[in-house]
């Protein structure tokens, strides 16, 4: 195995004291940035680019990798504790994670997220080392029709499984799709649904919608209830560490999340959102205690967190093998490579083998450092929940608004945030699920352009969606998932009539 000897060489590069130091600085900055709302890993890496110009290429790329992985860890912390997902990839984590925290089980939620991220990143980094050149050949064969099929599955499973009825789920999804279509159309460059507001030309920011619906909506609901019946601060029940049962319920979702996250992350337009939602749905279907979902099921944190981190490693596959950045952070990392006159691409593995394997090895090291850094922090984070509720929620409102404004300082953004907060309150009050709206916003524009690209390539013939086996199968699955519940219900009503 040639790769193994390369990997060992990589470790000898990564383990040099200076490089270890860069990795440590990277993970600490990354975690801090992930926890603070509004400052994403992409901006941090961009700010650090000129600083690292003085370092050698190996050292600076190792530091970027630390920031990248660290940001992924940190993002889940605010999602779980404050119901404020800092980035779209941790939206799903907030669903069950915050419910667990509200039930006094914030410790195990944070712990399963940290250990799950570790396990997933470890396996996915191995995948990156050994499968990358193969995986990328498959990934580029994925045409727009296949992306459309994948999006359809995500739409249907999310709206059918969240909330009390598919109709409510679809209503929420439609709201998200409407928001998602706002802005400049990628295929024609024309503005859609912007009502002449220039700030809307780039569409609605995912974090603005997610923070508005989740954090602000929740805060308003709690406040409205508090008037009548004051709630008590959340007591921390039981151990802050995972129990034996938590481990038993977590390890399979970790592995499944990894298997879903890595390949989808490696797709040039895969991203971290689809795998987290898919993982959530699968865990919900497979769980022995499906009734706990929506009230703080640990599987619902373990699976998506693993999927999130595995897809982060997956993103590096097209970056290193094609020079194709599929996330903002990866784009800045690409600029970092170019700064040293290194062009990631098909020749990178042969021309700069030492650098690639040094990077892979340092990802392993960063991962271990993150686990060591994050587990002791769980105890400190959990103390946040002892703050009396009015204080806690006031703090959440401040942080949520500050984060949104820091990311995009404009009045329109703040108005949008407040508007989404009000909508989030009403949706909670009248029992509409929130997640489908966020999914609609994220995936709506992708599905839209995937469908129209397919039709453009087939000169308008819709049969192209069924001529490719991959997309035909995925559309079939989506149709069955949507229609089957209605048919079964119809059948049972029919049988009742006969009786």
């Amino acid at each position: 195995m040639e790769s193994i000897s390369f990997l060992l060489d990589g470790f000898s590069l990564a383990i040099q004291p200076a490089n270890l130091l860069y990795a440590a600085i990277g993970v600490i900055i990354g975690t801090a940035v992930g926890v603070l709302p509004g400052i994403g890993p992409a901006l941090t890496v961009a700010l650090l680019l000129p600083v690292t110009f003085k370092l050698d290429p190996g050292g600076s790329i190792i530091m970027f990798a630390g920031i990248y992985y660290g940001g992924m860890y940190g993002g889940s912390t605010t999602a779980i504790l404050l119901n404020t997902p800092g980035e779209s990839a941790s939206v799903v984590t907030a669903l069950e994670g915050n419910k667990m925290a509200r039930a006094g089980r914030g410790g195990p939620a944070l712990a399963t997220a940290a250990v799950g991220s570790f396990v997933a990143a470890l396996i996915a980094t191995l995948g990156l080392a050994f499968l990358a050149p193969m995986l990328v050949k498959v990934a580029v064969q994925f045409g727009p029709w296949d992306y459309f099929g994948l999006m359809l599955i995500a739409f249907v499973t999310v709206s059918a499984t969240f909330g009390s009825s598919p109709l409510r789920g679809l209503t929420s999804l439609a709201f998200g799709l409407w928001l998602g279509l706002m802005g400049i159309d990628q295929l024609t460059g024309q503005a859609r649904l912007t009502f002449g507001v220039p700030e809307l030309l780039d569409g609605v920011e995912v974090t603005t919608l997610a923070v508005g619906l989740f954090a602000i909506g929740e805060a308003l609901l709690v406040a409205s209830r508090h008037l009548r019946k004051p709630e008590q601060p959340i007591p921390v029940k039981g151990s802050i560490w995972m129990t034996k049962e938590d481990w038993k319920r977590s390890w399979k979702p970790w592995l499944r999340g990894t298997v879903i996250g890595f390949p989808i992350g490696a797709l040039p337009a895969g991203g971290a959102e689809i795998p987290t939602f898919l993982s959530y749905n699968i865990e919900r279907k497979l769980s022995r205690k499906p009734e706990e979902f929506g009230y703080g099921a640990i599987e619902g944190v373990a699976g998506p967190e693993a999927a999130n981190n595995a897809s982060a490693a997956g993103t590096l596959v097209p970056l290193l093998t094609l020079g194709l950045p599929t996330s903002a952070t990866a784009a800045v990392m690409l600029a970092g490579f170019q700064q040293y006159n290194i062009q990631p691409g098909p020749l990178l593995f042969t021309q700069h083998a030492d650098l690639v394997w040094g990077l892979v090895a340092s990802l392993f090291i960063a991962n271990v450092m993150l686990l060591v850094l994050n587990l002791p922090l769980v105890g400190i984070w959990v103390k946040l929940l002892k703050i009396p509720l009015p204080w806690l929620y006031a703090g959440i409102l401040v942080f949520a608004s500050m984060g949104t404004i820091a990311a995009n300082p404009s009045v329109v953004e703040l108005l949008l945030l407040s508007g989404f907060g009000a909508v989030g309150f009403l949706m909670r009050r009248y029992d509409y699920p929130i997640a489908p709206a966020v999914v609609g916003l994220i995936l709506g524009p992708l599905a839209d352009s995937a469908l129209r690209r397919s039709l453009q390539m087939s000169l308008g013939d819709p049969m192209i969606l069924f001529q490719h086996p991959g997309s035909a199968i995925m559309i079939g699955i989506a149709t069955i998932a949507l229609v089957a519940p209605f048919i079964f219900r119809g059948l049972s009503r029919f049988q009742q009539d006969e009786d």
Partner: protein, 323 residues
């Protein structure tokens, strides 16, 4: 006329106040802010940050800050810059040909003729490629394919109305087909469109040469031509002009000051930029980033922008993206 005088007066007053406060504004103590009208990681952002570094290292500015204002192909950043940098002696903007196209196709009320050009900096060639397995071997083959059936010739490239799209339209027109029928599938940037090229889903693709250099050198993509007027050392593909098509299109980037920046302020900024561009530091950056030098001083750049705006508008009209 009256507004003009008012602004002139305002600029003079502001200028004298700033002059009083700062003492003599020499190049060495310029404190500048560069707006990159795009997010972190893109072409304009890296140009702004490279310029920041070169200006500081070569001692042509005391401090330089980079601000990212992403949105709508740069028009959001441009509009904000025009509002805040009017007559300002220390605000700069990085922009390029994509912003010319975006202002036209978004029907934006502002465009690059509203700001003060300082210098054109870099210009990168675009490249036209076909997949490895394609029967198309030369640009003449591609032209024949276009002429046979323009709608079935699927192009992929960056965003709609951008430089890639414009080049596809120009080549189609030069091949004797109707540019309004170009079947151009837009992707966000050279990354995603690369996957579509490697997957063999398109007939031809357009991108910045640097973005696809790796795949061209490894033989996964076949480069037919570059859009630069002259051959470039190190690039095997020949210019379109050398292959009988009268087309040149350069993905240029330049640096601007705000509206109504005049007199001593303008001279100081121009001098600082011109000195930076001639410094060793800037030459090293061009080399490591793989950018081609495309320097032109302010006055020449100003006429260039006017002619580019006209040209881009004509092409966008012909493909139906502007009216």
């Amino acid at each position: 006329m009256r507004t003009f005088m008012k602004y002139g007066l305002l600029a003079a007053v502001v200028g004298s106040i700033v002059g009083l406060a700062d003492g003599q504004a020499s190049a060495q103590n310029l404190e500048l802010t560069i707006t990159a009208p795009a997010g972190a990681g893109g072409g304009w952002d890296s140009a702004a940050r490279s310029l920041q570094e070169a200006m500081r290292a070569s001692g042509n500015a005391k401090s330089v800050q980079v601000v990212n204002v992403p949105g709508a192909g740069g028009t959001v950043g441009l509009a904000q810059f025009i509002g805040s940098a009017k007559g300002s002696p220390n605000q700069l903007l990085v922009a390029g040909i994509t912003l010319v196209g975006a202002s036209i196709s978004n029907k934006s009320p502002v465009d690059l003729t509203k700001v003060t050009p300082l210098a054109r900096l870099t210009g990168d060639p675009l490249v036209i490629v076909v997949p490895k397995a394609s029967p198309i071997k030369t640009i003449a083959d591609l032209q024949a394919t276009i002429k046979k059936d323009v709608a079935k010739t699927i192009w992929v490239g960056g965003s709609a109305g951008g430089a890639d799209h414009i080049l596809a339209a120009l080549v189609t027109k030069a091949s004797g087909a109707d540019p309004s029928k170009v079947n151009y599938v837009a992707y966000s940037g050279g990354g995603e469109s690369l996957a579509a090229m490697l997957g063999g889903q398109a007939t031809a693709g357009v991108s910045g040469y640097g973005e696809w250099e790796g795949q061209i050198k490894s033989g996964d993509l076949r480069a037919l031509a570059i859009s630069y007027p002259e051959p470039i050392p190190g690039i095997e593909a020949k210019p379109l002009k050398a292959q009988g098509l009268d087309i040149e299109l350069v993905n240029w980037r330049g640096i601007f000051a705000g509206p109504n920046v005049q007199g001593k302020d303008l001279d100081a900024l121009k001098a600082a930029i011109d000195k930076t561009v001639k410094s060793e530091q800037w030459k090293t950056i061009l080399k490591t980033r793989g950018w081609s030098d495309y320097y032109a001083p302010g006055d020449e750049f100003k006429t260039f922008i006017a002619s580019e705006t006209d040209r881009v508008r004509t092409v966008l009209k012909s493909i139906g993206l502007a009216d």
